[in-house]
Symmetry: C2
Subunit: 415 residues, 2 copies
């Protein structure tokens, strides 16, 4: 059996010639991939069905099974996603920061692919296609390792990707799938310094923390979102209700959903019943501080210390009354995962204080945290949302799968 290291070596070898491929040729490849997915949808669904059956046998929840499932609509969605990426500008090859050295050389920074991108992800099989698409468009090879629940689907999809590569006379090794889905294969990937240029984990907090803690390959940490909405003492309460309900309920399973509501003490008595009513429509369970309970009564579950740090990813919301913007900043500073934080206020001063005082990828004034997303931020598709500070922070698009090299054009200059 091919080892993970051998697969990575193949990827690296294939990546060398690929980095300078023209955009036009990369787009042709992606169109070929979209076509083969649509053509072979029967094959994809048959293989996916094997994963679904095993999932049922293994007693996975309906929600988990739903995440696994590839329907016609989802296959159309994958192809549509590829075509969106085709339409995006190619970040590779452009130059910026050109500077003429006093002695004459022209020094410019040229954008180049990272090389080989490693991805470790969990159940959703469409991540296989999304990741390969973004890596290929940005000139990178990729080594993909999905979860064991989706293994039949992932093998099928990676076969089709390799078919498209072959069809375009490109090395099939540009996209390699690690088919061994035991824990060791993930650990192996974390040790591939010199072969992988970056490792991106996508999934739950457990997976991401394990990769951050153990990887010797540089990691981009993604996606854990313990997001807060702070309703300031000077908020428009109607707007605050709408934003809270939207941030919590429009899609609770995603990382940019709100998990904690902080409420200024001056308006708590008036605002908490309003927002409770809005959240009731979605059967949101409130986990409140004593003050919240004293206002809303016993329907509120008493919050424990755990609740403030928790990413529920469900119809649960922690609620705490704070004195004002400074205490809100202090609370968030203690519990934030550095993803997206929001203040609702009509006060110019408090808005400024919040924006300066919060250390997170995205800081919102009077808008829902749900907008933290590559497409919403105008960068087209995203490969994840970085919650770290190095290399990229916030939504990670095509450009962030590239690096630079300086090109110095001289005329014999010596120093």
């Amino acid at each position: 059996m091919t080892t993970v290291r051998e697969l990575a070596q193949r990827c690296k070898k294939a990546s060398a010639a690929f980095g300078n491929l023209r955009s036009g040729d990369k787009n042709k490849l992606l169109e070929a991939l979209a076509l083969v997915l649509l053509e072979k949808r029967g094959f994809i669904k048959t293989e996916n069905q094997k994963d679904i059956l095993l999932a049922k046998e293994n007693g996975l929840t309906d929600a988990m099974i739903d995440r696994l499932r590839l329907t016609d609509a989802r296959i159309d969605g994958m192809a549509g996603g590829i075509r969106k990426v085709i339409a995006l500008p190619d970040p590779v090859g452009g130059q910026d920061g050109a500077y003429r050295h006093p002695e004459g050389m022209l020094i410019a920074r040229q954008r180049v692919p990272l090389g080989v991108v490693g991805m470790i992800y969990e159940s959703r099989p469409n991540v296989t296609v999304d990741s390969a698409t973004l890596c290929l468009k940005s000139g990178n090879a990729c080594l993909l390792r999905g979860g064991k629940e989706a293994i039949h689907s992932n093998i099928a999809l990676s076969e089709l990707i390799r078919k498209a590569l072959k069809h375009c006379d490109l090395s099939e090794d540009l996209v390699c799938l690690v088919t061994d889905t035991n824990r060791q294969s993930a650990v192996d990937m974390m040790g591939l310094t010199g072969l992988l240029d970056v490792l991106i984990p996508r999934g739950g907090a457990g997976l991401i923390n394990a990769v951050v803690e153990n990887s010797r390959v540089p990691v981009i940490e993604t996606g854990v979102g313990n997001c807060h909405v702070y309703v300031d003492n000077q908020a428009d309460l109607r707007m605050a209700t709408d934003i809270t309900v939207n941030a919590k309920c429009s899609r609770p399973s995603v990382c940019n959903a709100a998990e904690t509501l902080l409420v200024g003490s001056d308006i708590a008595l008036k605002f908490l019943p309003l927002v409770q009513k809005g959240l009731e429509a979605y059967n949101v369970r409130l986990h409140g501080c004593p003050e919240t309970i004293s206002i809303l009564g016993d329907s509120v579950i008493p919050a424990t210390e755990d609740d403030w740090g928790k990413e529920y990813l469900d119809y649960d919301l922690a609620v705490r009354v704070v004195s004002g913007v400074d205490e809100a900043i202090e609370h968030i500073g203690k519990y934030t995962s550095g993803h997206s934080e929001c203040i609702v206020t009509e006060s110019y001063k408090n808005a400024r204080t919040f924006c300066e005082g919060i250390d997170a990828a995205a800081v919102y004034v009077n808008a829902s945290t749900r907008y933290s997303d590559g497409e919403e931020f105008g960068m087209g598709a995203e490969i994840g949302i970085s919650t770290q500070k190095l290399h990229v922070r916030g939504p990670m698009g095509l450009e962030h799968l590239t690096t630079v090299k300086y090109i110095i054009q001289g005329n014999g200059e010596i120093r």
Copy 2:
């Protein structure tokens, strides 16, 4: 005794309020630091003398003792370096990429400090002042750990830095020095996830590799330079000689010095004697391939496999004859440390091939690798030269000690 973790906690606490300090106030602080260094030069030299004496007792080489020594000229140099940084623009606070979302919010990317920068470095004590200066100007706190050889000097310099901080009513904990210089304190720093935002090792390959292999804090790998000069079959041989001699001999102890010379086989017979003559003036020892030896004779030491990968940092040069640009690219691809690589050629095609085919921070056509440096590249002072691809590649200036946060100004938008 204060633990490394406690020091880092103090740094982190101090950093929170510091990140938004105005440029004017940061520059006042740096001017105060320059003044205190000049005023207390007697104290600095006295403390430095203790390190020098210990170094002599411990039998360090003259070159190593010279690196340790703080003379009046070097103290003036440190103060002058600080004033250069004062003159540089402050990267913090600026916004770019402002984008109006179709629904109305303004989404902009604001530059913010990283937070707390960890530095692990070796003998030269001026790195203490240089690092603190760059970190403070870019709004960061820093945790510094120098080598044991310079401990008295480093303690003296960090006391003066803290004096300047106090003089300006800022927290002294913005710059903390780890005074325990055993191996464990470095290992402790590598485990400070959540406290250090980045760890930058500066020193020899051994130190850097140890940090890259073991750190759980994100690392920026710096400075190992196995740089190549390739003299193409279509080179101007006079220019090639000048560039080779300059790249090897103008300062062999630094990372941008050349370590290997590759020579096209068509011009080897004519070029090798020319370059040998140029290098003789500096008593450079040549380590050659069999072909080189057959041309230059027995004064050339036979090169072993080790020589191709070695960063001599001395008057040594590995020499190999290659068939042309493709074999040069192949050789460099195998042995490069990703720092700086040079082709000397009059051929447009070969220059392009080399620039596209080499994967390194800086690729030179007809200019010496010795220009790889933050000041030479127009970014003012540098904190190191990154040989990794993530976050920053090549010279690392003030901007690379910052990250971004997205600021979203809305009007109640929900998704």
